[in-house]
Symmetry: C2
Subunit: 511 residues, 2 copies
């Protein structure tokens, strides 16, 4: 069973949703679908692998050109050693409020050979037939199957919102409307590389970026395919570790069960950090965890529950924590194994003891946890478990004098953020979206993923809310990343409503 | 510290060893070193990756030609679907005993990019300078540095013995001697692929292969660099396993600590099988283990102890089982992790939950254990630990109805063998070698590695003894495999002594 079918009962029918949105905007979009997709595909054809400086600059220049064509005052905010931020301003007549729209144009690394078609930067329009995604030529005119998808790295994460924002402006203009709030645009190029220059950029351009709040257009929407407003994000931190075996590979018969086996050692290390139910076993880890409030738990439980359909779709015979609700699990911190690499398997396996083992881990944090504290706790935990911890490649002397040696290389890390549903920005956004939908939009206390929201909160002192448009099954960060067309269309409708109606719901007094 | 230096005190000086060998043989070899190496290099230049049918046949043909040039009656024993055995006979005048010499010409798979020079089938002569192996041209004449080595896949494992046997015959002939036992030659081409056709070949050619015993010329000698007679081998069995996660890769933030993580699951599975001290935790596993006899333990303890020097060389701060002796550990069964593969690490790591995890394991068995019984015990252990075990790719239905699903693909497996030091073949071989050395040769109760010796014992009912010549640090099964020249020279001396003196020490009555 595919999610599209499985969740139909949960999802608001897309036709109804469209009817409640501004009909002129919807009509304009319906006659411009192919042109919108072509503009998006041209952007997706530009390789955007994070840290690829030259490739990212080509993306920034292309996006700036798209913005200038819409009359947005555009410039690149440069920073030494990182890709530029594409910045723009569009002032609204008589507006008293200003929001900044955030998206990022860089994408995760790809292994092209794993992708259907083998070309992550050749955008492909595909329609599902008999459970397979079939390449389909874009017609020259007419409508597109809204269940069709565009496959390319960066499609769902995170170029689609950039295209939807610009198309919404086109639609407003073409239908004789105008934005009711001042708009600023901030399209970043190193979100997938832990936004290492973001804080510096924000500090340098704090005056330029003055606003009443940020709308983060990143990440997927709810698995039920309904639009949502997300009031928080989990923090994150990455860890790469190496444990050491013999200095040269050894025959497993002649030296096995004498020489330490790094495959066993890394398995023991990983299982000492967490169990199969997701319980984090690092001593002291729970001390810094703010338990979810009863209100947050209630909000999580009030959300549609895709759990059962997702389990069917993902072929899961069970989930962690005795089948606890996905939405509740995301209120907690997490520890995920991204990868383990030791020796070789299957056809490439040799009867050898490998020289080392590597594991890649990411942590997801909740408010009050800090990356620095996680580092301290994990290192103390490993030391207490008999590991000698180093941050550089282990020296011969270190290996000779310690039984278990591990090298830890930590990523930068982001703290979590959560804002109240009663804050002015949340009140305005929820009001505008509720009105557009004709019913309450989903209110998610926190998303499971991470965004560099804490940097904004700390540096600029303004609230941030996440407003995603991508489908939950967009395969972001993995092979065959995609954007579902109906999600793009719904995004255009929502941005058009946001830009034109937000001011009407903004509280008149500062609470 | 390199092993060559570290073990000098333990090793019998090579000059003394050479003096006690037949001086004429040694003198002949000294004037033919370069020619011998050139002949070996020509053989090593033929790619011999196991299962590469065409490449293996080129090896077999080349070896047959080398044998025919020595007057050995040679033929290829063909088998459908496998590489041929290169078989030969050399009858001795008035001989009453016949031995068969075994070696194999296939090698383990290679990852060329990991090798120094990047070309595992371009044999390189290298001499160590300042801890590095430096490429050195072969001179046109003169002697070679005996600490120099030839680097190529198949050098130590297991083409060097073939060259040493043939050079020993050349030396005997050139110095006016002749073998005192009938010699048969059996050079196999699928030892690294679990010798799947060996039993069939032995059964088909049982009459042709009639003998008083087999000498297995495979594996490395003792780490002290002294020649040894090895009376047993451990059995072996391989296992490839796959554990399943979600049917598509998931964002670790949005689905982490809800969707099962195959990296955690495989780590838990592996640590449930054995601990970091090498204790095998599979229930019932120890029931089939014959404990080593006091005589075997005494023999293991009487061997030179390279442990401390090896630990220095291998940069090991400790070894498994509280630093127990290597020789004693090899009397026990073992479980080795050959590899683990989940997701990606370091630069390729993505914040994703992988769809599956793979692990590769090999078991080392002692007498009385059978591969079939190990299979039963491991599968019962996994089932008792909540795993649903399948042998084919798991179906959607299996994944949906079981929380933990593992696919097991077992290798064929070999049983262990051990013969008594008092058997006629052992008495003869030990006598000839003791006389050549002028002192008792090392008597090893069992080697740690595996050879298909059980198939011979079961099919032909004759004793087998392992007589290796390769250096222990030959990197067999790994990158930069090599053969140390002094080991090749000592092998030639030993084979010459064996062929000419074996008959004199053979017991006159069958015990």
């Amino acid at each position: 069973m595919r999610i599209a079918t499985a969740l139909l009962a949960l999802a608001a029918p897309t036709t109804m949703l469209a009817q409640r949105a501004s009909a002129p905007v919807r009509d304009w979009r319906a006659t411009h679908e192919i042109a919108i997709v072509r503009e998006m595909n041209a952007l997706l054809a530009l390789p955007n692998i994070t840290r690829d400086t030259a490739g990212l600059r080509r993306n920034a220049t292309a996006i700036a050109a798209l913005m200038q064509r819409r009359g947005i005052a555009t410039r690149l905010l440069e920073v030494s050693g990182g890709p530029p931020v594409v910045y723009g301003e569009l002032k609204a007549t008589k507006a008293t409020r200003t929001i900044v729209l955030y998206a990022h144009y860089d994408g995760q690394p790809v292994n092209a050979s794993e992708w259907q078609g083998g070309a992550p930067f050749t955008p492909a329009f595909r329609v599902q037939r008999d459970g397979k995604w079939v390449d389909t030529p874009l017609p020259d005119s007419g409508r597109l199957d809204p269940e069709g998808r565009i496959f390319a790295r960066g499609s769902g994460d995170d170029k689609a919102p950039i295209i939807a924002i610009l198309a919404a402006l086109d639609a407003i203009k073409a239908t004789g409307g105008s934005p009711s709030v001042n708009l600023k645009f901030f399209f970043e190029g190193e979100e997938e590389s832990e936004s290492v220059h973001l804080e510096q950029t924000l500090r340098t351009h704090a005056a330029l970026l003055a606003s009443d709040g940020w709308i983060f257009c990143d990440s997927p929407i709810h698995a039920s395919r309904q639009l949502q407003v997300v009031l928080g994000v989990r923090g994150s931190m990455g860890l790469e570790l190496t444990v050491y075996g013999p200095s040269r590979a050894l025959h497993s018969g002649h030296y096995g069960n004498w020489a330490p086996n790094p495959g066993i050692l890394v398995a023991e290390l990983v299982t000492s950090l967490r169990d199969a139910d997701g319980r984090i076993l690092v001593k002291g880890f729970q001390d810094d965890v703010t338990p979810p409030t009863p209100k947050e738990i209630a909000a999580a439980r009030a959300l549609p529950r895709p759990d059962s359909a997702l389990r069917q779709e993902l072929l899961l015979g069970g989930t962690e924590a005795n089948d606890a609700l996905l939405a509740e699990r995301l209120l907690l911190p997490g520890l995920n194994v991204r990868g383990i690499r030791v020796g070789n398997v299957e056809g490439a396996a040799a009867n050898a003891i490998a020289t080392d083992a590597k594991a890649s881990i990411d942590f997801r944090l909740v408010p009050r946890q800090t990356p620095e504290r996680i580092r301290q706790l994990v290192e103390a935990h490993l030391t207490a478990n008999g590991w000698y911890v180093t941050h550089a490649a282990a020296t011969d002397q270190e290996r000779l004098t310690h039984r278990k040696v591990v090298r830890l290389v930590w990523g930068g890390g982001d703290e979590a953020t959560r804002v109240s549903a009663d804050s002015p920005l949340a009140t305005a956004l929820l009001g505008a979206m509720d009105e557009m939908l004709g019913k309450p939009i989903l209110r998610v206390p926190t998303m499971g993923g991470s965004l560099p929201t804490a940097v904004f909160e700390h540096t600029l002192g303004v609230p941030l809310i996440v407003f995603p448009i991508a489908n939950h099954d967009d395969n972001q960060h993995a092979k065959d990343e995609n954007i579902r067309l109906q999600n793009l269309w719904d995004g255009i409708d929502a941005f058009a409503a946001m830009f034109t109606r937000l001011d009407r719901f903004w509280p008149r007094t500062t609470p």
